[in-house]
């Protein structure tokens, strides 16, 4: 029979345990970069890392500074375990909810890569009802190399515009695709890149002999598969491709990269796992030769095991260059200016020189 003795003291203890565990979760979020727990962005300032310890100290100061009944009989043993468990659940629920609600504001506060002022950006109808965004960099005194940029299945609208803008600033025409609902299954997904390539080839400011494809996360798997199928694609790069269906974690590992709300939708009801399996990016890499693929991962990637994936990729032949970018995670990689610069340099080398003019200009889109 449980005896809590004093309901007031029991409820106070739950509040105390909630505060202390919430502080612990913030300390862990800061120490181990757990996005799903983080109420603040802990990267920019060491002082922000004090939030967790401060919450714990506040809990202790409040409970032991105001409860006069602490040295009288109260809940103990099994009762205390139950009350502490309630505090853990409450702290966890509040932390996950708080981090999910605050994450968009944290993201908005981060410096976004600026789109070059005179860059022309247009909506381009790739295939009814699909829509893509075209970034046109330079006056068409000669045709420019072009790439299509394939986002992840769960990418937010505009998420890759910074990367697309940066690549366009370096002289590449960029067609940023979006995953239509009808193409989120295999084999329908396979038509995305060929249709985009056809659209790019028809543009007067695009050199149809210098086409490439870049994919992000699951888009990287699709990019590798598309390049293996289409010899017209001269260069392929993938940012943190998933490569293996076993890398689709459905567990705590996801919270190192995203909020709880985002993590719940990450698997897309099994679509992600099925697509990765059916696209078979690892096998596609073996069919790329003599072309070379650039594959980048962040050193802090919590979803793809870097050591084994790198070893498997490198054993698939000389057609792949694997680089690890320090400090970036699975989902932050595409937003890194360092990655954009590396990618632009690699693509322009593989696809040939960009237009000599630095002044971007308009280009008519022929869908």
């Amino acid at each position: 029979m449980l005896k809590f003795v004093s309901a007031y003291l029991a409820l106070s203890y739950v509040a105390f345990a909630t505060l202390v565990v919430a502080g612990l979760l913030q300390a862990l979020a800061a120490r181990y970069a757990i996005v799903g727990f983080a109420l603040l962005d802990y990267r920019p300032s060491a002082r922000r890392r004090l939030v967790g310890p401060l919450l714990i100290l506040t809990g202790y100061a409040w409970f032991f500074g105001t409860r006069r009944e602490l040295l009288t009989p109260g809940p103990a043993g099994a009762e205390l375990v139950i009350l502490f468990g309630a505090g853990v659940l409450l702290a966890l629920g509040l932390t996950l909810l708080g981090a999910t609600l605050l994450h968009p504001y944290r993201r908005a506060g981060l410096a976004q890569p600026q789109r070059p002022a005179q860059l022309r950006v247009e909506r381009a109808s790739v295939d009814s009802p699909g829509e893509a965004v075209l970034f046109v960099p330079a006056p068409a005194d000669r045709a420019a190399p072009a790439i299509c940029l394939v986002p992840d299945l769960r990418s937010r609208e505009g998420e890759l515009e910074g990367l697309a803008g940066e690549l366009a600033r370096q002289g590449l025409v960029v067609l940023l695709l979006a995953w239509e609902t009808g193409r989120q299954e295999y084999p329908e997904a396979l038509s995305m890149v060929p249709v985009a390539m056809a659209v790019l080839s028809r543009q007067p400011f695009v050199d149809a002999h210098r086409l490439g494809v870049v994919g992000v996360n699951l888009g990287g798997d699709l990019a590798l598969r598309a390049a293996a199928e289409d010899r017209q694609i001269r260069a392929v790069a993938a940012l943190a491709p998933e490569m293996d269906e076993r890398n689709v974690l459905l567990g705590l590992g996801l919270l190192h990269e995203m909020t709880y709300g985002e993590a719940l939708g990450w698997g897309a009801r099994g679509r992600r796992r099925r697509l990765i399996r059916d696209l078979g990016a690892l096998q596609a890499v073996e069919r790329l030769g003599p072309r070379t693929a650039l594959i980048l991962y962040g050193s802090e990637d919590a979803l793809v095991p870097l050591v084994t994936t790198r070893a498997r990729l490198e054993s698939s032949g000389p057609a792949v260059e694997v680089d690890i970018v320090p400090g970036e995670s699975h989902l932050s990689l595409a937003a890194s200016p360092q990655v954009a610069a590396r990618l632009a340099q690699w693509l322009t080398t593989r696809l040939g020189p960009a237009s000599p003019s630095e002044e971007p200009s308009a280009g008519g889109v022929q869908a």
């Binding site: 345990a17 032991f64 459905l250 567990g251 095991p305």
Partner: protein, 193 residues
Amino acid sequence: MNWDWVLFQTLNNLAGRWPLFDRVIQFLMNDYALTTLLSVLVVALWFRSRTAAEREADQTAAIHTIIALLLASAVVKGLNLLFFRLRPFTAHDGVHLLFYHPSDSSLPSNSVTVAFTFAVGVAQRSRRLGAIGIVAGTLLGLSRVIGGVHYPLDVIAGALLGTAAVLLVRRYQRPFSPLVQGIRALARRLLLA
């Protein structure tokens, strides 16, 4: 048990001399301060790891710690049914008591058993967390003797019992595997493992 009484008197005589020292001892010996800190260490062990392999090992250790806690608590209850040792403040006059009057058996110390179960449980996977736990458990035991509610032998027995429970569960962990896997599978479905 003469040494036990002599050591008890030596430590308990530190109480009642300095009000600030007594307050510190009361903070350390109560049912909430250090036991909560020790419980938090198990939560930290559950969530701290970054790779799937580390996570599995840490979370298995955390579940084993909870199983060891249940085992140790059952042993304490069983021992209490077999014999009853009076608390020092009940058995002797002149004890400085800084706490309320617990009515259960003095041997073994229930709170120190819990403390060392947690401390040794987390120490299996993390030296740093384990060191914090063992320091906290030792402070809890020491403060309970200074505060007059336990003999040193009660504290030593509690520490040994908690440690033994963890080592026993670790040694014979196979029967608990389905339970561990079930708990982890449920937590994974909730994206918490």
